[in-house]
Every structure is written in structure tokens, then in C-alpha cells.
Symmetry: C2
Subunit: 254 residues, 2 copies
């Protein structure tokens, strides 16, 4: 079983070497630009780690892991567009649309999403595609609630916008290994998504921090981390690396 | 075997009754708006007709047919955006972005694409998803060549922008029926895509008409129709309805 850092290196290599569709012509440059740029690769590492915990080979999990990361990239590329969050900068450099123009930004996001499904369809089962489509639609629904300011509560919004793709990272790995998504896996995935968002809010001083204060947010994050660890205890798998991921998500400072 | 008109009614009903993802919340209205509005449903009808020619039941083909139509809708919704073709009107009414705003236009297109893959993943095989992803990426690549004016020739551009999705309509039906995509099916699909685009150019007076004149465009369209019919003759299927579709594509006036 490999460490999280080894898994991260594997994921990074797989993303760099991704064989994009030949018909994309020059658009592939904008896709690579969007996927590069120093993301933490938390979701794909989580995906591969879940697969390894289930006894799968990391290499077999990489298409699913990359698919989840491409959906994440797609969402960032489109969310940054002027009509949505209007962010010209992402991770310290020009966002895709501000580097390549808005038309290419839209098309690059579209292509990232289609590439994600192409990767997800490389398994013998359609289950990976179904999990990914489910998560993507939830995420888009969350973004819709956000831009139209029509969410009923912050937790539900976060569960859609952030949680769904964390859940997909776990669920895609489980089904890619041919296993059933047991209740503890579902719980683990949900708690991890909540944990990530709560710590994000702590680091950015917004969301839950604005609504309930930093102490309450920290308390909720710690509870989510505890529940994630408890869910792992219910699973008969080697969860060493996954426990480390929970710990690093709970204590991250960036 | 049902007539093209009966198939069109089936497709229309299936699109109307499409169960969109529950997490889309209020965004579903923009998706329905985008899919409604009087399209000719040529691609999904073609998909179902190919399936029936192969001995499949129309009902079994409907998810694939609807998936192809959703990808078509996605492409229209995004192509109409201000950063791309900037069309405020589509089929005589406000385009999706001009009706719901640009942010919702982007998100609705994204959701249509994800819904398409969700439908395509409802088959026991991943082949439908793979065909659809392939076609979608080719189509996006074509749109990129178009907006950046970097296509080397008109025929290759059309083959990507229009042809790929016609090919997907045929190919998805074949693989959904568990059949192999034999060479005549590939040829039939390609010729049909070319035929559609050439007649489009004749009706709009652009593209091939501008480059080579109306007579030459008509000649090419008739040749494509002949080759499509010839391809059908090589297949041991009941191609009555498909021959009718070729004929109606060749002689359409709208």
C-alpha cells in the first residue's frame, strides 16, 4: 500500500500523460493549462486510496481518479467565467478564460467534462459513469442555487457544490473495484466532503464561519473528521492511508 | 416496424417525460426550455430507426436517442452564448441564455451534457457512453476550429461540427443493440452527416454554397444521399425507414 504522497505523484503523472481526444485539435492546450497549475489533487488521491484500501491496484483506479479531477477542473473553468464568479485569477495565474478568451474557456470546460466521461467509460461497468454523472449534476445544481441565491441552507448547498464530488471520488473507486457501496463508505464520503468545506471556510473566513463563527466551524470540522474515522472503522479494509487523509484534511493550512 | 413519424412522436414523448436529476433544483426548467421548441429530432429518430432496423425495440433505444438529442441541445445552448455565436434567438424564440441569463445558460448546457451521459450509462455496456463521448469531443473540437477560424478545410470542419453527432446517432444505436459497427454503418452515418450539412448550406446559402456554388452543393448532397443508400444495401437489415430518412434529408426544405 502506497503513501498519500506516492499516490499524489502517481495521479500527477497520470494527469500529465492523459491522452486527450485527437479531434480536440488546438483546444487540448487549454485543457492541459486548466488541469495543471498546482491543485492539491485531494479528490483523485482519495479515489486511488479508497481503491487500494479495497485491495485494488492504484493503476486500475487512475482513470476514475483522473475523471473525478477533470470534472473538478471543468467546474473551476466554468465557475471562473465572467457570467459566473468572474475570476480572472486562479491559483496565482490567469484563469482559463482570462488566458485564452471566454469562448475557449467555455469550450475547454465542456471538453474537460466530456473527457471525464470518456475516462469513466473505460471500465467494464457503467457504474463509474453513473456515479460521476450523478455527482456532476448535483454539483451543477448546487452552483445554480448559489448563483441564483436560492439555497435554503448553507449545509445543503455545500453538500451539493463540494460534497457531491468528494462522494464521487469514494463511490467511483468502490464501484471501479466491483464492490458494493456499503453504508460506511457513503458516510465516510459525506463526512469527508463536509470536512473539506468546513476547513475551507475556516481558511477563507467565509461560509460557516460567517454564519456561526470560527469556533463552531472548527467544532463541526472536528466532528466530521471523527465521524469519517468512525465510518472507516466499520469497514473491513486497510484504512491506514485513508485515516491519514482525514487527518491531513482536518489540519490543512492551505 | 414503425414509420419515421411514429418514431418522432415516441422521441418527443420521451424527451417531454425525461426524468431530470432531482438535484438540479430549479435549473430543470431551463433544461426543458432548451430541449423543447420545435427541433426536428432528426438525430434521435435516426438513432431509434437504426435500432429498429437491427431488430431492436424502439423503447430500448430511447435512452440513447434522448442522450444524442441532449448533446445536440447542449451544443446549441453553449454555441448561442454571447462569447460564441451571440445568438439571442433560436427557432423563433429567446435562446436559453437570453431567456434565463448567461450564468444559467452556461449551467443549463453543462447539465444537459451530464444528463446525456447519465442516460447513455443506463445500458449494460459502456459502449454507448464511449461513442457519445467520442462524438461530443469531436463536435467541441470542431466548434473550437470554427471560433478560432483555424480549420484547414470546410469538409473536415463540417465532419466534426455536424457529422460526429450524426455518426453518434447511428453508432450508439448499433452498440446499444449489442451489434458490431460494421463498415457500411460507418459509411451510412458519415454520408448522412455530410448530406445534412450540405442541404443546410443550400437552405442557408452559406458554407459549401459560398465556396463552390449551389449547383455543386446540390450535386454533392445527391451523391452523399446515393452513397448513404448504397451503404444500406450492404447491410442485411430492413432499411425501409432509413431509406425514407435519407430521402427526406435530401429533399427537406427547412
Amino acid at each position: 500500500m502506497r503513501s498519500a504522497e506516492e499516490l499524489r505523484a502517481l495521479v500527477e503523472d497520470a494527469l500529465t500523460e492523459l491522452a486527450l481526444h485527437e479531434d480536440l485539435a488546438g483546444l487540448d492546450e487549454a485543457l492541459r493549462y486548466s488541469v495543471e497549475g498546482g491543485g492539491k489533487r485531494i479528490r483523485p488521491v482519495l479515489c486511488v486510496a479508497v481503491g487500494e484500501a479495497l485491495g485494488g491496484e492504484a493503476e486500475q483506479l487512475l482513470p476514475a481518479a483522473c475523471a473525478v479531477e477533470l470534472v473538478h477542473s471543468f467546474s473551476l473553468v466554468h465557475d471562473d467565467l465572467p457570467a459566473l464568479d468572474d475570476d480572472a485569477v486562479r491559483r496565482g495565474r490567469a484563469s482559463t478564460w482570462s488566458h485564452y478568451g471566454e469562448a475557449v474557456g467555455i469550450l475547454a470546460g465542456d471538453a474537460l467534462l466530456a473527457e471525464a466521461f470518456r475516462l469513466a467509460a473505460s471500465y467494464p461497468t457503467t457504474a463509474v459513469v453513473r456515479e460521476l454523472a450523478d455527482a456532476t449534476l448535483g454539483m451543477i445544481g448546487g452552483q445554480y442555487l448559489d448563483v441564483t441565491a436560492s439555497a435554503t441552507d448553507l449545509a445543503s448547498l455545500n453538500r451539493l457544490k463540494t460534497g457531491r464530488l468528494f462522494e464521487a471520488a469514494v463511490r467511483c473507486a468502490v464501484v471501479a473495484c466491483g464492490a458494493e457501496i456499503q453504508a460506511p463508505w457513503r458516510a465516510f464520503a459525506q463526512e469527508l466532503g463536509a470536512l473539506f468545506q468546513l476547513v475551507d471556510d475556516l481558511l477563507d473566513g467565509d461560509g460557516t464561519v460567517l454564519a456561526y463563527g470560527a469556533d463552531e466551524t472548527r467544532r463541526r470540522a472536528d466532528e466530521a473528521a471523527e465521524r469519517a474515522a468512525a465510518a472507516l472503522s466499520e469497514l473491513e479494509v486497510d484504512s491506514t492511508v485513508l485515516r491519514g487523509l482525514v487527518e491531513s484534511l482536518a489540519t490543512r493550512t492551505a
